[in-house]
């Protein structure tokens, strides 16, 4: 899934952002964010709602302007959004959080209108649209009205629209939020295919699995700041114990007295769940066997979500 070789071969940096900040009045949405992205890779922004992911995306494609501080630099394929907004928009495709399709027009007409924005000759546009509808498995819906499309189809249409001009940079702002697992997997599969064709992808998500499946590198954001960066599997390996014991039942959790815990076990209290992290699974098994009833707990391998939890000290869920 992660083609290390490919990444090494074309380790050419195409996005370089240094010290990017954005304030809305007194609220600092993004604070001194720096990152760089290699061509053809998928770079993820993981974080709860309000972490500043979307704002960071908007700054890149010129929907937001970053704060003017002297140390702030942006280089998106050689362009700065402040001075070369149009160039960046021309080489990018953007999938925004909300589906903003023209409800009055059908599927093909929606795409034809946008082909005009890219100055595509009508004949080329028609060919490209036919290809994209096929690619996103929407060919049967070519003449459908927008209101007759399901949520997943609308999302795929918005993605098709973003791909019209064969973008070198694809910006996906929560592309699969609210979609069912089938559509989600279909979209993931398409994103991987695009990456093989050297499309650079910037992705925001609050789904850990999505980040883990797609991203070559990712940053975890919290309150506008980058708190961690790395390859997803390394983030897990380097930042957290490999195993966790979860106790969801508050009463059972009181059976385990903190002072009796081995110092090799790290306890983490959340409002509705107790977690015990440890590098040895046997220690957790003993702990569970002596204090807890079967069915009241779960021992599993740690994942990105645990890393996130440790880093931000808060639970990640869709309501945030």
């Amino acid at each position: 899934m992660f083609c290390t070789e490919v990444v090494v071969q074309m380790a050419k940096t195409v996005i370089n952002v240094a010290n990017m900040s954005k304030s809305f009045g007194k609220i600092q949405a993004v604070r001194g964010l720096s990152f760089s992205v290699e061509s053809g890779s998928c770079f993820g922004f993981l974080g709860p709602n309000g972490a500043g992911k979307t704002t960071a995306m908007k700054i890149i494609y010129g929907k937001c302007t970053r704060d003017k501080n002297p140390g702030s630099r942006m280089d998106i394929y050689g362009y700065d959004p402040v001075t070369n907004e149009l160039a960046i928009k021309y080489l990018s495709g953007v999938v925004q959080q909300e589906n903003n399709l023209d409800d009055e027009l059908n599927v093909i007409q929606n795409l034809m209108i946008y082909s005009g924005f890219y100055n595509m000759p009508v004949k080329d546009a028609k060919e490209r649209i036919e290809y994209l509808l096929d690619f996103l498995e929407l060919s049967e819906k070519a003449k459908s009205k927008i209101k007759d499309l399901s949520g997943g189809m609308k999302r795929r249409l918005v993605i098709a629209r973003a791909l019209l001009n064969s973008p070198r940079l694809l910006i996906l702002d929560e592309p699969t939020t609210g979609l069912d697992p089938q559509v989600r997997h279909l979209i993931w599969d398409k994103i991987r295919q695009l990456q093989k064709k050297e499309t650079t992808v910037l992705l925001t998500t609050h789904y850990m699995e999505e980040a883990f499946q797609l991203c070559d590198r990712l940053i975890i954001m919290h309150k506008g700041e980058k708190i961690m960066e790395g390859r997803p599997e390394n983030l897990v390996k380097e930042n957290i114990e490999p195993y966790v014991l979860e106790v969801r039942d508050a009463e059972s959790a009181t059976q385990i007295h903190p002072e009796k815990l081995s110092n090799r076990i790290r306890a983490d209290h959340a409002p509705d769940v107790m977690r015990y992290y440890c590098s040895e699974i046997d220690l957790l098994k003993d702990l569970a066997a002596t204090h807890l009833k079967a069915g009241n707990y779960l021992i599993r391998q740690t994942n990105l979500e645990d890393v996130f939890l440790k880093a931000t000290g808060r639970q990640l869920n869709d309501r945030q």
């Binding site: 809305f24 009055e104 209108i113 924005f117 100055n119």
Partner: protein
């Protein structure tokens, strides 16, 4: 750095055209329901005046029959109404509810392109609505062709002028209901105090300067000259007023809407 030859984003006129084209496509999608009323409305209006009101107004107004006087005014009021609706309710819905602009601004188009394209579109609608009235007027032989054919151009200017104004109003509006103030408080009174239904020369002295400030007054004066094929140098001042109005109000509309679209 990318070779600049491969990165040819569309030129300005193309960007404006594609914004205009988007609106045109959405509008003509329901051609029958959108394209029919502009012809029916003036017809009903003129029939009503001709059969009813006209009998009581036997005195010539502004040197012509009342139906000719009123008919000429309708050529621009229709452009004013369509443009004001398009760039208030229409713009607000695209901005806040449908989020159409968010999508468009992710394509290679700047906010300036978007708003200027919007104004040109509203002008085009003004032109079309004026043309529809002209068709009815000439069918009733109220306006003589071919010189009446210039009237839709005045409709275009009127459309752009009210687009600029309505966009500026929209930039202040927080909820869609606020437009009621604009239409009841400004657009409707304009209909009566800009020389459409009676000559502004008949207004009491102190009120007259107010009529000169009202943008539609200048459109009305231009369109009357077109209908009577009688041009005076003073019309240059009306054209100048319209040009300055569009530039100044348009400038502030763009500046304020930009803050709303790009934050």
């Amino acid at each position: 750095m990318i070779d600049s030859k491969t990165l040819q984003y569309p030129p300005l006129r193309r960007r404006l055209y594609s914004v205009w084209y988007r609106h045109m496509r959405v509008y003509t999608r329901n051609l029958l329901s959108n394209g029919f009323p502009p012809f029916v409305e003036p017809f009903i209006f003129l029939v009503g005046v001709g059969l009813g009101l006209g009998k009581y107004i036997t005195e010539p107004m502004g040197g012509v029959r009342y139906i000719e006087f009123l008919g000429a005014g309708l050529l621009v009021t229709t452009a004013m109404f369509t443009s004001a609706f398009e760039c208030s309710f229409g713009t607000f819905i695209r901005l806040e509810f449908e989020k159409v602009y968010d999508g468009m601004l992710a394509a290679p188009i700047t906010v300036n392109n978007l708003i200027v394209g919007e104004m040109i579109w509203a002008g085009s609608k003004g032109l079309f609505f004026s043309f529809a009235v002209l068709c009815i007027l000439s069918a009733f032989k109220i306006v003589a062709l071919p010189y009446g054919l210039l009237a839709p151009l005045v409709g275009f200017l009127t459309g752009v002028m009210f687009a600029a104004l309505s966009l500026l109003v929209t930039s202040f509006v927080k909820t869609i209901n606020h437009f009621n103030f604009y239409f009841t408080g400004f657009i409707s009174p304009i209909f009566f105090f800009s020389g459409v239904v009676f000559p502004i020369e008949n207004l009491p002295g102190p009120v007259r300067p107010i009529a000169e400030i009202v943008p539609l007054t200048h459109s009305v004066r231009l369109v009357r000259s077109v209908c009577m094929n009688n041009y005076k140098p003073v019309l240059l001042l009306d054209l100048l007023y319209i040009a300055i109005f569009i530039l100044v109000v348009g400038y502030f509309a763009i500046r304020r809407l930009k803050k709303r679209l790009v934050n």
